[in-house]
Amino acid sequence: MTARQATDRRALRGWPAVRVVARREILQRARDRATAISTLVTLVLIAALVVLPKALGLGGDPKATVVAPAGPAAALARAAHDAQEPFGVRIVVRSVASEAAAQRAARDGDADVAIVRGGRALVVSRDAKDGAVAAVQAASRRARERAEPPPPLPQAVVGEEDASGLAFVVLLVLYGQLLAYGIVVASGVVEEKQSRIVELVLSAIRPRDLLAGKVLGIGVVGLGQLLVVGAVGIALSAAAGRLDVGGPGVVAALGIALGWFVLGYAMFACAYAIGGALVARQEELQTATTPITITIVGAFILSMSALSDPGSGLARVLSFVPPCTPLVLPVRQIAGDAPAAEVAAGVAVVLLAIAVLIAIAGRVYGNAVLRTGARVRLRAALRRA
């Protein structure tokens, strides 16, 4: 080894240091068996949810309701029922008193398809089963085949899309991912503290760069896992015919979930890092992080209310309470009840919370992370500069 000149010596500060730390975290965790196992378990759960009911013959073909006033329309409905087999739906025909009643049923989502104008037009509910529509169209074509090559009946889509199922999946996955990766950060901090390596690292770089690199690296792994789970989940659902992948709602939902994971993770990871820095051993970690975990669980429970009624006053208020924001706002966005201004305000609130938490975490981390003996009190860790 030869002595290099002092001129090419520089302390790693900021991004270069963060990058080196993040690189190690990503390499280690991507190779870690625990990461692979948790990804697999999540995928298996999703697969079970999506594929199993069909594979086991549970439920069979989905039910679809076709409504029609008496007359030619009702005849067409019965023909569609008789021809349902290849379309993968079980059509239930309901006759209604009037054309207006038929339209109303489709609009309210009580029926998938309403046959109107004496069997010459369809009113299709937005979340209608495609099979039901196809069956009615096919029956109509067959009925008129003798006359001329029939054009498909004109159809209008009405009613509101039912996105609460999608929102629920996103909420569940976001909640699990935020909780899991926050705890990974906390235990990663303790691991370095317990193995004493933190002293060696801090002789080279600043505490806040170590913290930032750790949070970033683990976050990248978490985001990657979310992407894989999301993509495979969508593919499985599409294969099982449970989801219309072409629909803009699905891709948008994945985007919304990824975005809120980034924001929510940054917020909770800082909080968990503080918890980790305060204790000396993994065994004490749970006690120190319980308040944070309770906060996330509480936010999750509160967010469930947004699921049933995205437009409620409670949901709107929770959108601006930082621990709830990353769970409530995505639900409202996917369910289609979040004005852009409220989303922007929610993002701003979370960014502000992140900034505050980073400042606190940097200070606590720098002060507490070298105290390897007893548990450090938060107040003491904040005081000492």
Binding site: V20, E192, I197, E199, L200, L370, T372
Partner: protein
């Protein structure tokens, strides 16, 4: 050259450092000795910038040490720590990167330093499967990989087998001979005595004695070993100028103050019985240390 100047640091009610000053010169191996809790580790942590002093200053080449200076320091903390699940070479390379080396340079430095500490064959072994002695070698490699312009090691010899200790001593000597200031703490005074050019004795957060090993030994004063066939040591009571005595299997070692007459000591011994041995004795560092601790 590293200068610690008047370092003071307290932890709540405990004064860890109380105006500690010390200089580590280029090309010199400086030993840092003191009882447990004397403040050695705190002083080293402050030198490395891991801790802030309440008062005092760390200077590098005559000016206050900056983060850039410290990035070029090499450190082996007393609380050894490595990432248990990383492979040896990855681990060392990670620290090379943390010290600003990049890509190819980090890999080259890693390969070179693993050769130096004798772990080239273990480059791909997971760190937690290595023996403790070999983990310590990894720790040394981590301290050396960025070719530091100063080396600070906290108890580098503790836990090493004789061969590991020889490797450690050889590496430290080589770094010092290459012009790097090297400081290390140790409880093994014989190691310090054999290896170090200079020694600083720390007590209660202060350096109470420092200098070359020779200087410190001379400070120990005159000592005479007397082996006399007497029933007990009561004959010593009548001799003026004895400041300390220490009995072992080969007789008694008597420390004399500057005014004492060793011939009077000999006469008293002869009067007590036949004298088998009467010879001046060089104080060992351990004696100097013990006196510094007792003073």
């Amino acid at each position: 050259m590293l200068e610690l100047d008047g370092l003071t640091r307290r932890f709540d009610d405990v004064v860890a450092l109380d105006g500690l000053s010390l200089t580590v010169r280029p090309g010199r191996l400086t030993g840092f000795v003191g009882a447990n809790g004397a403040g050695k580790t705190t002083a080293m942590r402050i030198a490395l910038g891991v801790l802030e002093p309440d008062a005092g200053e760390v200077r590098w080449d005559g000016r206050p040490a900056t983060a850039a200076d410290r990035a070029a320091f090499g450190y082996m903390p007393e609380e050894r720590g490595l990432y248990p699940r990383m492979r040896v070479a990855e681990q060392v390379e990670h620290f090379a990167r943390l010290h600003g080396l990049e890509g190819e340079g980090a890999a080259r430095a890693t390969a070179a330093v693993l050769q130096v500490v004798g772990l080239a064959d273990q480059a791909k072994t997971r760190t937690d499967t290595l023996s403790l002695g070999n983990q310590q070698r990894v720790q040394l490699a981590v301290a050396l990989v960025h070719d530091p312009q100063l080396l600070v090691l906290d108890e580098p010899f503790s836990g090493l087998d004789p061969i590991g200790a020889d490797v450690m001593a050889g590496v430290l000597r080589a770094r010092a001979d290459a012009g790097v200031p090297v400081a290390f703490s140790s409880h093994q005074l014989d190691v310090v005595e054999r290896l170090c050019d200079e020694v600083a004795i720390v007590r209660d957060g202060r350096v109470v004695a420092s200098g070359t090993v020779g200087e410190l030994r001379r400070r120990g004063g005159r000592r005479v070993r007397v082996d006399v066939d007497a029933a007990d040591d009561r004959w010593l009571a009548g001799v003026a100028g004895i400041v300390a005595m220490d009995r072992d299997a080969d007789g008694v070692v008597v420390a004399l103050d500057d005014g004492a007459d060793d011939q009077r000591l000999l006469q008293a011994a002869l009067a007590a019985g036949p004298v088998r041995r009467f010879a001046p004795e060089e104080p060992r560092l351990a004696d100097v240390f013990r006196e510094a601790m007792a003073a």
